[in-house]
Subunit: 192 residues, 4 copies
Amino acid sequence: MNRGRPRSGHVDEAVADAVRALLAEAGYQALSIDGVAARAGVGKAGIYRRWRSKAEMVFAVVVHGPHPVAPADSGSLRADLSALAEHIIDLLSGPYARLVLPGLTADLSADPALAARFQAGVIDAERALVAEILDRARARGEDAGDDPAFVHALLLGPIYTYLFLAGGEVPPGLADRLASAAVAALGTKESP
Amino acid sequence: MNRGRPRSGHVDEAVADAVRALLAEAGYQALSIDGVAARAGVGKAGIYRRWRSKAEMVFAVVVHGPHPVAPADSGSLRADLSALAEHIIDLLSGPYARLVLPGLTADLSADPALAARFQAGVIDAERALVAEILDRARARGEDAGDDPAFVHALLLGPIYTYLFLAGGEVPPGLADRLASAAVAALGTKESP
Amino acid sequence: MNRGRPRSGHVDEAVADAVRALLAEAGYQALSIDGVAARAGVGKAGIYRRWRSKAEMVFAVVVHGPHPVAPADSGSLRADLSALAEHIIDLLSGPYARLVLPGLTADLSADPALAARFQAGVIDAERALVAEILDRARARGEDAGDDPAFVHALLLGPIYTYLFLAGGEVPPGLADRLASAAVAALGTKESP
Amino acid sequence: MNRGRPRSGHVDEAVADAVRALLAEAGYQALSIDGVAARAGVGKAGIYRRWRSKAEMVFAVVVHGPHPVAPADSGSLRADLSALAEHIIDLLSGPYARLVLPGLTADLSADPALAARFQAGVIDAERALVAEILDRARARGEDAGDDPAFVHALLLGPIYTYLFLAGGEVPPGLADRLASAAVAALGTKESP
DNA sequence: CCTTAAGCGAGACGGTACGTCGGGTCTTCGT
DNA sequence: ACGAAGACCCGACGTACCGTCTCGCTTAAGG
């Protein structure tokens, strides 16, 4: 049985609001636990009771999960992948992800436990979407390979590169071009 | 003419050694200017006189530039791209890049000036290599498209994804598969 | 009429035990309400229901009051005062008083209400003992002055000084010497 | 040779001012290092660089030492001791000592090193004054005993008792009465 | 007997202060 | 003028307690 005073949902809400507000104002690096606590009108202990680090907190608040985005079934592999790529572009250039992802990625590299949760909650979820799209294509008789992780990397990687390693903007038509590249790659023998 | 005592090369060496040692011991996030100064037996002022931030210092020391890697000319676009991909994999999974890149990427997103220098010094240099490879292919009569940046993103992005967003390891044969995908993409009309 | 569940004596016992144990282990300053509650297996509310502060709690537990030490009647003022001084020395150098008094005194200076209770429960009680001794002496025809508080200060003050302001140890024979000093002071005209 | 930037006297002054102001406003217990740093416009590190605790800081600032109060030589032991007692009363009921002493005494009991410094800097200094007075009296042919520490305790103890253990006020004429008591005690054989 | 008020252990709550660490700047002396 | 050294102000860190407040559960007295 659960003993003691139960945790208050109000804290979670207030922290989530404060995190989003402060991220928008100053970005991930400038976000501090002290600052969030003060802005949320919450004790620091209430935050540390829930999350062990800034990275965990932001991860929980911003990446918390609405990734159930069912992949559209347009009847063609290329169109499905293009839609998925467009979805990833939207996600990564969205209001918060853009501010959060580089810093969060850095923290992941120093916290294997959190990295595992990111892997499971975000990467694996997206790979599952790719797998579903490929399965459907295979059912239709299209050539769909057998490595959803590779196809996923072929979509996510270039998008991440444009956004966070190169200039910061995604070129127009990128989703289509990535989908075409992926389809072309699937229809190729890798060694001559 | 320069007056006063000239800068001592000894400082640069000592700092470079200290940065490498401390990176290996504790990683990028745990690296501090104080720590580097103490380890190098150097004053903090001597460091700030050279670089404006931790990110600049590490960037200068670790990514300092020896990227003159002439792209091998193997006579085939696919083989050239594969060699380049292999080179990128080696670079990114090298001893320091692996420890440094996620944190450095995060700092880039908060320091536009440094981001521009990273863009110019690393991204543009690699894009130029791709451009050279594509030019050679075109001269040979192969289909080479007109967007080296896209081809570069197609190589670097998935590698970065595997190393820093997903598990941390690059699957075997990745360089070949990426090169094949790029070549296939180039031989495709992007709109049906 | 008292309704509701009556207070459990078990709490008082458990708290008293915990306070004594923790005092012995770490002293007054390191004693915390959280610590006492945890050690006693008691809720913090149960403690705050009984006492308003750490000082009150410790005061109640350690100085709880059994000071009814009837002053021995030896037939001589000097001997009576010496016995009382010896008693005070024993009290103040006892196992807990020694750990508690300096900190408790400090808290008194910040809590007038508690100070008044300390004054009434400890100081006034001891002054009453002195008054009784002086009355007996006066009845015997000895010179006993008319200011028990002064005589009491003449006994308690030096003892406190030796124990808590100077080194920490009471010199041998102190009780006798203080009694002699007090008697001598009583037999003196204060202004020539 | 001393290397590095020397400590700034401005910090010492600012801290001393802030400590005095905050003591007057809220007392010793409510004084915090954070508060002093903020009020003084000084970093906490600057404080911790100088003193290891609140008690050390306050001790250094308030009790800093100028106790060179030469003992008046009035030609009589009783008058000298009375003057000294009056001086002690003034000291202890002075603006800061009153706020500081109880809390400081408490901290002494938890910090033997500081206790030793208090003993050496304050108690021993006052005992030396007593010793000097007694020496002068002995030179005059008066009976002066051989235990300055005892005489000192006979003066300081009752004063401390009145101020910090009993009500808080010193009764009028106390200095004279303590001096008389001390003189009387010196002229007495301690064992019947 | 059955309500019901108050007690109980537990522990979360908003806060404050702790002592430490790092950032980026400034100031000394010696080279 | 540069060098090492190190103090400067600032602000965040993660921890520990404070005193208060819910929880769900006894526990007895009063109706």
